[in-house]
Symmetry: C2
Subunit: 115 residues, 2 copies
Amino acid sequence: MEETKVDLEKAAQTLKLLGDKTRLTILGLVKNHECCVCEFVEVLQMSQPSISQHLRKLRDAGLVKEQRKGQWIFYSLNTSHDTYPIIQQVLEQIPNQKEKLKALEEAGLRIQCDR
Amino acid sequence: MEETKVDLEKAAQTLKLLGDKTRLTILGLVKNHECCVCEFVEVLQMSQPSISQHLRKLRDAGLVKEQRKGQWIFYSLNTSHDTYPIIQQVLEQIPNQKEKLKALEEAGLRIQCDR
DNA sequence: TGCATATATAAGTATATGCTTATATTATGA
DNA sequence: TCATAATATAAGCATATACTTATATATGCA
């Protein structure tokens, strides 16, 4: 009668990664569509190495997948991760980050990498 | 048409606190009923100061409420916290911690403070 | 009043975290 | 094949975190 639960230790590990404004925003962005590193840099206004390091943590934990497309590397949410149900629920409770990308585009600010 | 969302910064702050095995277990315990410090010590098998310090973080952030009852101080979930929706969702995804308390009792292991 | 119990706080310490700057890697295109 | 763009990695550093041990505070009871 119980739905499947996420192991508490794994849950804590994932929540620790979600417990950072930068990473939470990144996940909010890839919730909708895959993004390349330069987009995160642009939206979050942070240095490229800093973004890369956050992405590495998320990837090492398996929360996001990466896929190279030529010059760019695109990140997307790994929906088959054990703790995905938690991530999904959390992301539903925070404001949609898609707006941030849209706002950028509408302001005519070109995203560094030409997509 | 949007449900109320939790501010991303506040969400991250709460998730950081949830991102620790000890604190996540504590919240899982107080989800059902209020608990006193000695119960956490017993269930988690950690030192009393360590537990107290975790509880202080949770209380400072407003995630739990404390209520003194004579010699004991009982902690309970603060269901009116801004980020409560997140906590609630997360706790639904992890195994019920109530079992741990039950197991203790059934094993005949007395909880330190007499309730 | 004085001792025991429950809890909090303080100080110290080892490790983790998140940035920075500098440099390496990989792919594109002239 | 060389320059440039996109990204990753490394090293260094300041700050945060989660314990430990020692001590303080508050309540209950003889």
